[in-house]
């Protein structure tokens, strides 16, 4: 087999490739961010927290079980711990920091506060991301659908009742806003 350190002229240039010790860029919350001095096998979660200082996504299980690291990559809700960061070059990434400006919470964030759906708060960023994704796909989810769609986000404090209530509050208030928008 050919020596991989010698460039093979027959191999076409890929759209993207990240070499050993190379600087690469990620598009996070609408900004191009440089990732320096990274081992390219690092997970997106690790890069977000340790390289880019975005501490909102939480790291717990590092095997996709808990959902506390949930982010959007290319429009899909995924566990950032299971995304190899360098593989996400050229794809839009939205983290909890990109959901709403600090001090001006999104309707989902506000509903979690109002419904008392936050206790220790560790799972909350992941649940906020999952709730935004859920309501994007299904504006008026049934309780079954909410439980199903949030099944990848583990909360050990609340017992989920108030989380489900928070999701339902957003659904109801968005419909009310839409109806009053039509009326006015």
């Amino acid at each position: 087999m050919s020596d991989p350190t010698v460039p093979d002229p027959t191999v076409p240039e890929p759209t993207g490739s990240v070499g050993f010790d190379e600087l690469y860029q990620l598009n996070v919350n609408g900004e191009t961010r440089d990732v320096r001095d990274a081992w390219v096998g690092e997970s997106l979660l690790y890069v977000l927290r340790e390289r880019l200082g975005l501490m909102g996504s939480k790291g717990a299980c590092e095997q996709g079980e808990c959902g506390s690291c949930s982010v959007m990559v290319d429009g899909e809700l995924v566990c950032s711990c299971l995304v190899m960061a360098a593989s996400a070059i050229d794809q839009p990434i939205v983290t909890i920091e990109g959901v709403a400006p600090i001090g001006s919470p999104s309707d989902v964030q506000q509903a979690f506060v109002d419904a008392g759906a936050v206790q220790c708060g560790f799972c909350t960023p992941g649940l906020i991301m999952a709730t935004h994704a859920l309501l994007e796909r299904s504006a008026e989810p049934s309780e079954f659908e909410i439980r199903e769609e949030l099944s990848g986000n583990v909360c050990r404090c609340t017992g989920y009742g108030r989380i489900i209530e928070a999701v339902q509050r957003v659904s109801v208030s968005r419909r009310a806003d839409a109806e009053s928008g039509i009326a006015s």
Partner: protein
């Protein structure tokens, strides 16, 4: 460690041919768990889930088959119209992990990992799927039964990519059943997939997590083909019981930290019977 992100199949196979030791990364839901834990330290990574040719599926109405690209995700398999064409695959996909996992995980990744607990694999086995592979030197295809070699072992050569699977569109009931400790985020303790081919007068049953690879229950299949009534869509209680017994007898489970062999064997019998009952009403 370079990470290669090709967007075409030609690029992908030539890159793999230049670096056959590369870790082929699709959704990452299996591979990144090992990388995060330090169990796997790849020298090269080939990311395949942006290769256009692998991202789609096509229905061939003339051959009555569906060809599913290896980078099609479980979330995509759950949506109509493919969910209506291959319902058991949609059911199995729905049991995988959580929404986050199903948005990333792919059918090709399930084949690449080739765990006996892979949720897509019993469905592919029951459908007699054909697995398609490509390398810089050409393409080849093989039945799923030949592709799966052992626990996390398959017939893919290091320079080959899994490109697609072809499955038939079958007329008749098909379903998937899974036992685990909860509904979400669970590795199967035992699984079963039934495919009834009503015009072809066959019943196919594949079971998972109870052997080194997926097992086809040929004795149970032969028995069902002769014992059910395809015209009226019915089966007797005795037929259902015997079908479950033969399925359980075909299983080769082990005791491990997740369940005992006895429990798994029992679960196979129950699930096989239930699946047959869903396909055939009681008489």
């Amino acid at each position: 460690m370079p990470v290669l992100v090709p967007t075409s199949l030609d690029q992908a196979v030539s890159m793999l041919s230049a670096t056959p030791d590369a870790l082929v990364l699709a959704g990452g839901t299996d591979a990144m768990v090992e990388v995060n834990a330090g169990h796997r330290k790849p020298h090269h990574v080939l990311v395949v889930n942006r290769v256009a040719e692998l991202r789609s599926w096509t229905f061939d109405p003339e051959a009555s088959t569906v060809r599913i690209g290896s980078a099609v995700t479980y979330a995509e398999l759950m949506e109509p119209p493919i969910a209506d064409l291959v319902p058991a695959l949609a059911e199995a996909s729905r049991t995988v992990g959580s929404p986050q996992i199903r948005h990333a995980g792919t059918l090709g990744g399930n084949l690449g990992t080739c765990s006996p607990a892979g949720d897509g694999l019993p469905v592919l086995a029951a459908l007699d799927a054909i697995v398609h592979l490509a390398s810089a030197t050409g393409e080849r295809s093989m039945p799923i039964g030949e592709f799966m070699v052992g626990v996390k072992r398959n017939a893919r050569r290091p320079d080959e990519l899994i490109t697609a699977v072809t499955v038939p569109v079958v007329s008749g009931y098909q379903g998937y059943s899974k036992v685990g400790v909860r509904n979400a985020m669970v590795i199967a303790l035992a699984t079963a997939c039934i495919v009834v081919d009503t015009p072809g007068r066959t019943v196919r049953l594949a079971i998972g997590s109870v052997g080194t690879t997926i097992i086809r229950c040929t004795d149970a299949e032969a028995f069902a083909a002769s014992a059910v009534d395809f015209d009226s869509g019915t089966a007797s209680g005795d037929t259902v019981t015997r079908f479950g017994e033969l399925a359980a007898a075909a299983s080769r489970p082990i005791d491990d930290h997740r369940a005992t062999a006895d429990y798994r064997r029992h679960a196979i019998g129950v699930m096989a019977g239930r699946l047959l009952r869903r396909g055939f009403a009681n008489v």
